[in-house]
Amino acid sequence: MNAPLLAPVVALVGNPNAGKTSLFNALTGSRQKVGNYPGVTVERKAGRLALPDGRSVELVDLPGTYSLSPRSPDEAVTRDVVMGSAVGERRPDAIVAVVDATNLRNHLRFVLELRRLGLPMLVALNMADLAERDGTEIDVAQLATILGMPVVPTVAVRKRGLDTLAAALAPLLLGQTPPPAEGIADITQLQREARVIASTVIVQRGMTKRWTQRLDGIALHPVIGPLLLAALIFVMFQGVFTLAEAPMAWLADGVTWLQAAATKALPDGALRSLLVDGVLGGVGAVVVFLPQILILFFFILVLEQSGYMTRAAFLMDRLMARVGLNGRAFIPLISSFACAIPGIMATRTIAEPRDRLTTILIAPLMTCSARLPVYAIVIAAFIPNRSVAGVLGLQGLVLFGLYVVGVLGALLAAFALRHTVTKGPTPTFLMEMPKYQWPEPRDIGIGLYQRAKAFLGRAGSIILISTVALWALATWPKPPAGYAGTSLEYSVAGRIGTALEPVFRPIGFNREIALALVPGMAAREVAVSALATVYSLQGTDKEHTQPLVERLRTSWSLPTALAFLAWYVFAPQCISTLAVTRRETGGWAWPAFMFAYLFAMAYVAAGVTYWAAKLL
């Protein structure tokens, strides 16, 4: 055996809900590299772990799965990696099987299946504290003897057992050639073997009524349950608006200050215009929304990690079944409220292909956080900031309404799709409902940090580029002396806007909107920066310093503003979403279909809104 040149790879494998990601976060901290597996969009998370003997290993967090017979694309990644058949991915040198100590019987079955791979292996008996609290005592030494591998009790959230785990890992990584893998075993046989082992090593079981069951008595209550779900979603969206208000104002002040400073420091000319109108005006208009996006992700992460999200899926299954979907689809759809891209990627947990395709197609109808900037600015400009019935803010209420319209549109679209292009047998619903847990601040923190990084990364790349490109198109060519119109009208962008205007005039859009829709294709929130850039360039000196909200208020009619909102409920305008759809569906046919049907829906909705609002 050659001396290994690369750090050994250790894979964390386990059932979903075994606390695998918490353990991964506890072991690697924030020194994580998040990427994708080659060819698929499954997220690959890797981090460094130092062993007590001074070596360091690359720890990889594999997608959670119940067995090595994958039902969905992300489970297939786990199988391929541990079998050594994943393209561009080294086979792990050792496996850490993460097991939920409170659910030993079922998780042991997977350990037995993994053991047959022949790789050096140890078991992390996670959530050992919860098992103790439940009155479950596990004979760890005996379990290790029976399995023939080290068993380390861990409590990932309290960082307990981590050193012992690293110490137990070291002797497994001595470069020995693993024995060949045994064949696939019958699942029933493994299941029974696991039950026998579990009943041998579980010493005593108390009969404490579990918290989960009590909480489910409320969360799944026939009457209280749905009301609670509606209330939670409502609080989430009110929170997004009210909690973000102050930090957003600080960011906006910061951008204004920078603009003023740049205006003062630079001589009048193209460079100053690029910096003030293009970069700061455009990117600044988007960065301001970071607090709202983080607050929304915070709520989603808390709901996910607490275990409530699967209850929501359970409650929603009946409704989802009506439109030919599965309660499981509710989770990717909720994620799509943050962004359709992780939402579409999360559909990989849906086994049935047609079910999955339908969910992908309707995911963009869930109002993603990139639309928040668009909604927020129009709402701020046109909806009075007063309260309804004393407690509810009218602006928040309108925002909530837009989300509801998106959801209804999605259900309608799913129903239509399931009866036409994705026609097929009704999928079933079968899903583990994990126990409730306090969300771990560290896990939430790491999740938010990764989201913020991704958002600012987008702002610094795609949004910056498209804003600067738009600024250039809107600045040149300069009109000749004595030209009657504004310089914007004379520019390339102005001409594109003028060309597009007839298409959008019937639904109440002016030339500036038609113009903003073009760069808005890159990313939805760019529409805001585009409007900011367009209005900032065409303004007189006095208007120049006016915030975008004021500019919109003076240049749009109310029906136009409402039509614009309606357009954005359905608008297919996000290249990234179309790209990820192409990757997930394996061709351009479905993204093209998605674009066409969403465009049609957006056009009709905006038109109806415009004409209805005009009549009233």
């Binding site: 030993l104 019987r105 079922n106 009946r318 079944a321 309660g327 079933t428 079968l430 583990e432």
Partner: protein, 85 residues
Amino acid sequence: MTSSIHAMRPGDVATIVAIDRDGCDPVTARQLHEMGFDEGVDIELLHRAPFGGDPMALRVGNMVVGLRKALAAMIVVEPARAAAE
């Protein structure tokens, strides 16, 4: 004395005596095993969803699993005892 999960009420405990593996596709049958369903395992009906009681939540061993009525119909049970608490 066997019956189906349909007849159970929340709080009832029963033992699985048979799973109709031919009544569903092999993938679904396997999935049931992955969730811990097997002959001889105790289950408890915990909750039924609003609007028609479909899907339902069952305790299987130490795990809570949500599933639709149609799938639950594949599982034949023998009532063990009424819930003590």
